[in-house]
Every structure is written in C-alpha cells, then in structure tokens.
Amino acid sequence: MTTTAPALTNATLQAADPILEIKNLSVDYGFGDDPTHVLQDVSLTLNRGEVLGLAGESGCGKSTLAYGATRLLPPPGVIRGGEVIFTGRDGVKTDILTLNDKDLRTARWRDFAIVFQGAMNSLNPVHRVGTQLIDAIKAHGKTATKQEARDRAAYVLEMVGINADRLKAYPHQLSGGMRQRVMIAMALVLEPELLIMDEPTTALDVVMQRQILEEITDLRDRLGFSVIFITHDVSLLVEVADRIAIMYAGEIVEAADAKDAYLRPRHPYTRGLLNSFPPLRGPRRELQGIPGSPPDMAKLPSGCRFADRCPFVMDRCRTEDPALSRTALKMSEPERLVACHLHDGKASEVPAELAIQAPQK
C-alpha cells in the first residue's frame, strides 16, 4: 500500500467529489416476456471536472448506458434496476431515476445537458438560431429579461467560436460543423455541471473534429463541467479524455487512465480495439482488427462475452463471467480495473502484450 501512496492520495482526493455515480444500472429492451438484457449491473463513476470516454464497437451499449442513466431511452427501453446519483455543486445528492417528471425536466439541461448523435439535425429549420437558444434560456427561467437572454445566447455562441451576429441566421445558413457547435453552445447555455456527448463529431470532417474537441477541452478547463464522451473512435478519446471505459457487449471490460489504456492495454478486447486503427505516433505496426463479431445480445454466451473472439481464451472463460477487478499487476497500477480471467492469477501468467509495464518515473 505504501508504495502507491501518492497515486492513492490523488485518487482519494478525487473520490470525495464524484458528480455522477451510476450504480448497478440494468437496462432491458422490450416490455414483453422475453426482453433483451442490454445492460446488467453496470456501474460507472464520473468525477467533477473529468472527461470520461466511453468507447466500444457499435451496439455495445455505450449510448444505452448514457441514455439509460438520464432516462432518455426511447421505448421499448426500460430501466430494470440500479441508481444514478447526481451530486450538484451544492453537494445535494439526487437519484435521477427517482425524480418525478417535473424535477427531471428541470434538472435536464440545467444540471446535465446532452449533445446527441447527429445533433445538428435537431435544430428547427424555420426558427433562427438565436430564437432557439433564447427559448431554452427562458424555459428554464435562468435570466429575467429578454436582453439578458440575448446576451447570454450571444456569449455562448462566441464561446464555441461562432460570431454573435450568427444569432440571426437560420440553421440552413450554417455549415454542418457550425450547427454542431450551435448545439454544443445550446447544451452549455445553462451552465450544466455535466455534459454528455454522444458521438458529437461523427458526422464531421477531421479538421472540424479537432476544432470542436479543442473547444470542448478548453471550455471544460474554463467552466469546470464534467464530460461523458461517447465514441467508437478510441484515438480521438486518447486525445480528449482523462479516463476511458471500454465497453463490450453491454459490459465495461476495462477502465483506465486514457494514456494507460492506450499505451498499455490490459484486456484482450482493448488491445484488439487499439490494433484496429493506426497509431497516431510511434513506429508503424500492422493493423489486426478483431476477428468475428460481437455476440447477439438476446443470446449471450455463458462465461466471458469476449471468449469467442479472444486470442488468449482459456477453458475458464467459457464458463465463468469475469468480474471487473484489479489487474494482475495490482500494486503498480491501483487505479486500473479489468474484467479478464488472465488478470486473476499471478502477473507472470499474463501474456506479455497485456502486461506492458509503465516506464519508471
């Protein structure tokens, strides 16, 4: 314990200030007798001021987790259990899942805001951008006068790098990237403490992606909100996120510091994901991808869900579902969690690819 004291102290300091704690969240799709259990007892904690990246293949439950936690899942989604504790700046803890409709509506946008996938299509084409921004401000009664609301709208628009005179523009007069930034401005207009971004840059070109990411990081530093950033682009996450949670088939399989996860993956799936795209820096390496496809969520195999595609599969993996727990290199990396049987035993038994040591400082 004493060897890792500095890291632990750091962790303990942050632990005192979680903003969102998702505890054992379970989500089903389908109301009938035979629903699909998409999420089963998933837990996740987001700290104040942190950018948490959620990554994984399409359909692995990233968006379901974020929308389930905010009760935004469309039918036939249904939350089957768990709690989502939101801690406000004033320290008041509320369980989002137990809020009544009115309180939930108030909390949305003011406490936590969401930028949806393809959000730029959410703008109403017949209203000016400014009208739509001011509408949000007024609906939540944040400012009293119309002029104040207009000033606030102009301010957030400038904040995301759009000239304030664009308030008079109609959505079709803006480019896709600008519309996406208007949506981000709209999400930030009430100064939420938590911003959930569901693939906010997927529809944009790389130049625009970079601009928007830089803006988000910059705004986060200035305004101090927390971000859950959902994407399937892990290289993007490494740039923007402080911490990364990798999801596979409705489970979190690895959670680690962004750089650690990128340079020293511990879970075979994380490694496969990282090998699926070219590295941003460093020597060239062969792209491998992950053979096979994710399991059908309606017919999940027993044991580890990644077993069928895992290059390091063992007999145990077919029968026992690994729990998310410490890595085999326990003491040297107390903040990392991985759900893999390889890390149950001694560190010497872990394949070399999954046991890359951090350089000594």
């Binding site: 942050q14 632990a15 009938g32 904690t45 989604g77 489970e251 680690a256 579902d321 410490r326 107390p334």
Partner: protein
C-alpha cells in the same frame, strides 16, 4: 368526396379486440412466434376483423342455400315478432326477415368488393402515373381527380344509377367511379415522395425502364397504402350501396340490407314497433364496418414495425402499470418478469460487472472512483 369514418359505426355491443370474450383467444401476454410468415395474422385486431368479415363472406356464399324461406314468399303471419318459425320475425307481407338478410348479404358483399377493386385499380393507375410522371400528365390527372373529389357523390350516384337501372355490377361500377379520387390523391403524394428517393434515382441511373421502376421498385412500397385505401373504399361502397337501396334508387326487388331497410321505412316499421325488421340489417352493416376498420388498423400495425411492437407491448405495459413515454424511460424494478436482479448468471461472481470495490481489504474503497 369524403371517406367514411368507420370508427363512428362501432356500436358498443359489437366485439372489440380488447373486450372480454374476444381476448380469450390469446392467453397471457402476447409473444411473437419466431419464424412465422404470417405476421399480419398475429395481430389481434386484424384477426378479429378477419373473423367477422370471413363470417359475412361465408354467408354471402351459402346464404341463399341456408335461407329457411324464399325471401319473396308471402305468408299469413304479418309483421310477426321473432319466433321459432321466423327467427327474425316477418314483414308486412309476411316475408321472412332472416331469409332476406341471408340472401341480401351476397349482393352487399359483391357490390362492396367489386367497387373496392375497381376504384383501387383506378386510383393506382391515376395516382401512381400522376405522381411518377409529373409535369403535364400530373396536372391533367390531378385536375381529373380534383374534379371527382369535389363532385357531390350521392346526387351523382342517384342520377347515374336511376338512369342506368342496372344490376349489381353496374351499381358497383358507378360507385367505384365516385370512390377512386381520394385514393389517387394519397397514392400520388406518396409516389412523388418515393420518386425523389435514392433507390429510385439509382434504378433510373441503372437504365431500368419506367415500367419496371414503377411496378417493381415503387409499387411494393405503396402496398400498405393501397391495401388500406382498398379497405376504406369497400366500406364506402357498402355504405353507399345500402344508402342507394334505402332511398329506393336501385331495384327494390333485389334483396340486400338496404332494400330491407327501404321496405321497413316505407311501411313504418319503427312506428309499429317492429324492431326485428330493421335492427338486424343495421347491425350487419355496423359489423362489416367494424371488421373493415379493424383490418385497417391491423394493416397499419403490420406495415409500421414500430407500431407493431407497440401494439404487442401495450397490454403488457398496462398490466404492469408502466407507461412508456419518449424522454422518460420507464423504470420497472419488478422481478417477476425475469428481471436481471433476480437471475444472476451462473458462475458470475457477486457484484457482476461493476466498478464497485471488492469486499477484500486489498483494494481501497477509493479505487472505484479512479478506476
């Protein structure tokens, strides 16, 4: 011309899909049968509608044979109430009402369906052609259907029908002439929307012929609209035909439900308290209307997969007291329906997939935050 709102025809006594006594055909929450080709027939609304309609189609076929009397035959029992001899009583001339009803069903069904088929064919030809070709052909055909839309249907029908003085096929033809325009407009609009879509552009670029694009690419996408337009037109045709017979435009000696009402009205059945004379025919009209409306709902749910599962889930949700709304995901912590909490996976350690710290003292409680 207006379409007939079949909802208004629904009397309380008639079976509805959610009424007790009908729902017993399906026990418990409905479950989709995997691999079934007849998705349409899983829909309880469609099933109910098909059963009612099927009953009347069978009557239309065998009605004249199972009728206990000749519907024209007089007897000495005048305006007699229902008895074992005459199940639905007799008319002012002693004719058997049940026999009239059974024999008359064939006329109603033939006119209704013939008019429905003819009007739908007209609507498809005019609507799809106008929608796909555009330009001057669209203008001309739209003008034509607009004219037929604004012509008051019933007076026109009365004039044509009384001057032609024909049998049921002629009547069906005349009804279809006034019933096609509504369907044509809807189909034109839908065709125009499909014409601009990428798959049609692609087949045009591939050099497919106009015929093939219309018949093989666009028309299958219109099936649902054509089907529901057909059902609505049949409803309209049946009601119109009954109306024509009721006001005496068609031959009062051709038995159908309308002629029964015509004779009942002419001989003051209501004033005499002879309810058996007109109530059964009225109920038959209402029942066919309900059946066709239910089939139409069924088509809607069949065509729109989202609506389909919504319909399937609706009863389960009501039973559980859960409300499904956009923006407020329902929370159902009940464990009776195979909830996750109640059935942990075999072999999975307690805690499952979570960030929660393990109970062993090895990991400080704070790791769940950083990890």
């Amino acid at each position: 011309m207006t379409t007939v709102d079949t909802n208004n025809l629904e009397p309380q006594e008639l079976p509805r899909p959610d009424a007790p006594g009908v729902s017993h055909t399906k026990q418990g929450p409905p479950k989709p049968k995997k691999g079934s080709q007849f998705v349409f027939l899983r829909n309880s609304k469609a099933i109910t509608g098909m059963i009612i309609l099927g009953f009347f189609v069978i009557i239309a076929i065998i009605g004249p044979w199972i009728a206990p009397y000749d519907p024209d035959a007089f007897s000495d029992q005048l305006v007699a109430p229902p008895s074992w001899e005459h199940w639905l009583g007799t008319t002012h001339l002693g004719q058997d009402v049940l026999s009239q009803l059974l024999v008359g069903t064939r006329y109603v069904m033939i006119v209704g369906f013939t008019a429905g088929v003819l009007a739908t064919i007209l609507a498809v030809i005019v609507g799809v052609t106008a929608g796909y070709l555009g330009g001057w052909s669209d203008e001309g055909l739209s003008l034509l259907s607009n004219i037929f839309l604004v012509i008051p249907a019933l007076p026109l029908l009365i004039i044509i029908a009384s001057s032609l003085d024909g049998g049921m096929i002629v009547i069906a033809g005349v009804i279809s002439l006034t019933a096609w325009a509504w369907g044509a407009r809807v189909l034109r609009a839908q065709t125009m929307s499909h014409r601009k879509r990428d798959y049609v552009e692609a087949s045009r670029a591939n050099g497919e012929s106009t015929w093939r694009i219309v018949l093989a690419e666009i028309l299958p996408n219109l099936t649902a609209i054509i089907a529901s337009s057909f059902v609505a037109t049949v409803t309209f045709a049946i009601l119109t035909q009954v109306t024509l017979a009721f006001i005496g435009v068609t031959s009062p000696t051709d038995w159908n439900w309308g002629t029964i009402l015509y004779w009942a009205q002419g001989n003051q059945a209501l004033a005499r308290g002879a309810w058996w004379w007109f109530v059964p025919a009225g109920l038959c009209i209402a029942a066919v209307g309900v059946a066709l409306a239910l089939i139409n709902f069924g088509i809607d749910e069949f065509v729109n997969p989202r609506l389909r599962s919504t319909g399937r889930y609706a009863r389960v949700l009501r039973k559980r007291g859960v409300q499904a709304r956009v923006g407020f995901t329902p929370i159902d912590r009940g464990t009776t329906h195979g909830g996750v909490a109640a059935t942990p996976q075999p072999g999975s350690p307690p805690g499952g997939n979570s960030f929660a710290p393990e109970p062993s003292g090895e990991i400080p409680a704070s790791t769940n935050v950083k990890g």
